[in-house]
């Protein structure tokens, strides 16, 4: 109840954020602009839309989560609105979870809408390159044909699902750093670093394996234990080509892996915030 009240209030506050609105509209513009590539043949047009749409959803969703979650807790402590909440019978864990869930709800809403617009753009791209009996087809007919043709597929849904899990992780890490450091700048920078290292994870593994220096190998191994492999959440190629290479078991494992790391980040953030003087 209390967590939900804090989350709902955070959601209400965040959706008013002008930067968020700008980033959201920009992403929609990019996604809806993608069908302009329909001068390519039909097959390539829908691929481009899916590729651009998924990339925009991931990137702008990440930026929205990173920006909002980094500023939320640190900003409330700085403005002392957190003091009004924490003077009530609210634990610091409830406060952090409420803030995280509120931002996550905004991120998922924004990313969900972007994904929805991408699907609409795929249908539009499909429709513009397809004729039946020498004439244009309707939107619903185009949608059903796009599904039958594999342009809107389970592979795409899986890609969107794991992209959302990655956004939850970024939001969790940024919330944790925001609580831990009390500075949105440091939180932004630290979360961005984790994000980059997470995406560089496969490359870093190779470096760690080939490193001659024992201390460097030790450092890299330790780092790779803390930073998750975010490349696991990227199923863009599968979605674009409509080929489900990743077995379902590994898909669920990736999903659990992302949620576990998100929970881990929040627990670490809480352990620091619990004793923090505000």
């Amino acid at each position: 109840m209390k967590i939900w009240a804090i989350a709902a209030n955070t959601y209400r506050k965040s959706v008013r954020n002008k930067t968020l609105i700008f980033m959201f509209l920009l992403s929609l513009f990019i996604i809806m602009f993608a069908p302009a590539f329909s001068f390519l043949d039909l097959v390539h047009a829908t691929k481009v839309v899916k590729d651009v749409g998924l990339a925009a959803t991931s990137l702008f969703g990440m930026l929205i989560g990173l920006f909002l979650a980094s500023t939320e807790i640190a900003g409330e402590v700085r403005d002392r609105t957190a003091h009004n909440v924490l003077a009530k019978p609210v634990t610091r864990l409830e406060f952090i979870l409420g803030k995280f869930l509120g931002v996550l709800l905004v991120v998922l809403t924004a990313a969900g809408l972007m994904a929805l617009f991408m699907c609409v753009a795929v249908v539009l791209a499909f429709r513009s390159g397809y004729t039946e009996d020498g004439g244009e087809i309707g939107l619903l007919r185009a949608a059903s044909l796009a599904v039958a043709n594999g342009d809107l597929s389970v592979a795409l849904v899986r890609a969107i699902g794991l992209a959302l899990v990655e956004l939850a992780f970024v939001t969790g890490v940024a919330s944790a750093f925001s609580a831990l450091t009390g500075s949105h700048i440091i939180s932004l920078a630290a979360t961005a670093l984790v994000y980059l290292l997470g995406h560089m994870n496969p490359g870093l593994r190779t470096i760690a394996a080939q490193a001659d220096s024992a201390p460097l190998r030790l450092f890299m191994t330790g780092l790779l234990r803390v930073v998750p492999n975010l490349a696991r959440f990227n199923l863009r190629d599968e979605a674009v080509l409509n080929q489900m290479v990743l077995p379902w078991s590994k898909f669920w494992m990736s999903l659990g892996y992302g949620l576990l790391f998100t929970a881990f980040a929040l627990v670490v953030g809480y352990l620091f915030f619990r004793r923090k003087e505000i």
């Binding site: 804090i6 002392r80 003077a87 505000i278």
Partner: protein, 311 residues
């Protein structure tokens, strides 16, 4: 029954870039139920730090702070507490109704109770007309009154108020004082941090005077103001010789158009009275001297500064 507030040998030290700062030193105090306790001190005396320790925002370096017998910051203690900060900050995009509904949920209050209290509290703080306006459009005084309504949403047994009249106009101040007296009459305990001495003197039953992190004096207001055991003599037609004698004996001596006012230690009062009467002066009054809170405060601070200078 546990005292609403009990602080024992509390120390709070901050580490800063310029070294350590002792914000509170060996502070002990107890606030009984049903009273307005004025916690006085100049800016930087350690009042807000003490309040922040009581609310669990800061940790004590040494000693303990308890609310209703529970450690500072405990959830079950906070259920019975209302808090108003010096500069009240709230979510600017909410209306008073929405803000009170939000804070009501944090106390787990049923929506029906919150709705009923919202109307009553907004009327109490004079914001009924602005119930649907965003708090972001409020003046400083309106925000402070909104803060009081928020602090009262859970019908608290203990109110912790940090400079509650800051930013209020004279009418607002009067209304705030009346509200505090009404709360005390309803059996609530009020812990009032302030440096506005005249206001505190009007409403408080007990006071603690804090300076430089140390509690200089604490007790019932009346007892503190008459504790110095001094006598005030008002006399008229005092001869020059008698006036010189009075001036010699008195700690404070004023002659306003022939009316002499002398404040003396109790042990010298009889001698001064005899001197004045034998010189033919008319004694207008001979009473225990009641110091103003401001005079007491200034005297204690001056003594403390002198001690600091001497050591």
């Amino acid at each position: 029954m546990d005292a609403p507030i009990r602080v024992e040998r509390l120390w709070k030290r901050f580490k800063g870039p310029d070294g350590e700062v002792l914000a509170v030193r060996d502070l002990s105090l107890a606030v009984d139920a049903g009273q307005i306790f004025g916690f006085l001190g100049p800016n930087g005396a350690g009042k807000t730090t003490t309040l922040n320790v009581l609310l669990g925002f800061l940790r004590a370096t040494k000693g303990s702070a308890r609310i209703f017998g529970r450690p500072a910051g405990a959830i079950d203690a906070k259920r019975r507490v209302g808090y108003l900060s010096e500069v009240h900050t709230t979510y600017e995009y909410l209306t008073p109704q929405e803000a009170l509904a939000f804070y009501g949920k944090l106390f787990g209050l049923p929506a029906k109770v919150v709705k009923e209290r919202t109307g009553r509290l907004l009327a109490l703080v004079g914001l009924s007309h602005a119930a649907r306006r965003r708090v972001g459009t409020f003046s400083k005084g309106m925000r402070q009154r909104m803060g009081l309504a928020e602090a009262l949403i859970n019908d608290p047994d203990l109110l912790l108020l940090d400079e509650p009249t800051a930013g209020l106009d004279p009418v607002g101040r009067r209304e705030m004082k009346d509200a505090l007296l009404a709360l005390r009459d309803a059996g609530k305990t009020v812990f009032l941090c302030s440096h506005l001495l005249s206001e505190v003197e009007e409403v408080c039953d007990c006071v603690g005077i804090l300076y430089n992190g140390q509690l200089l004096r604490m007790g019932k207001l009346e007892e503190l103001l008459t504790a110095a055991e001094r006598i005030e003599i008002l006399a008229e037609g005092v001869s020059r010789e008698a006036a010189a004698r009075l001036r010699e004996l008195a700690g404070s001596f004023e002659d306003n158009a022939g009316i002499v006012k002398a404040i003396l230690p109790k042990e010298r009062a009889q001698e001064a009275l005899r001197a004045a009467v034998s010189a033919g002066a008319e004694i207008l009054s001979f009473n225990p001297y009641r110091e103003s809170l401001e005079a007491l405060f200034m005297r204690l601070v001056a003594d403390e500064k002198a001690k600091g200078g001497a050591s």
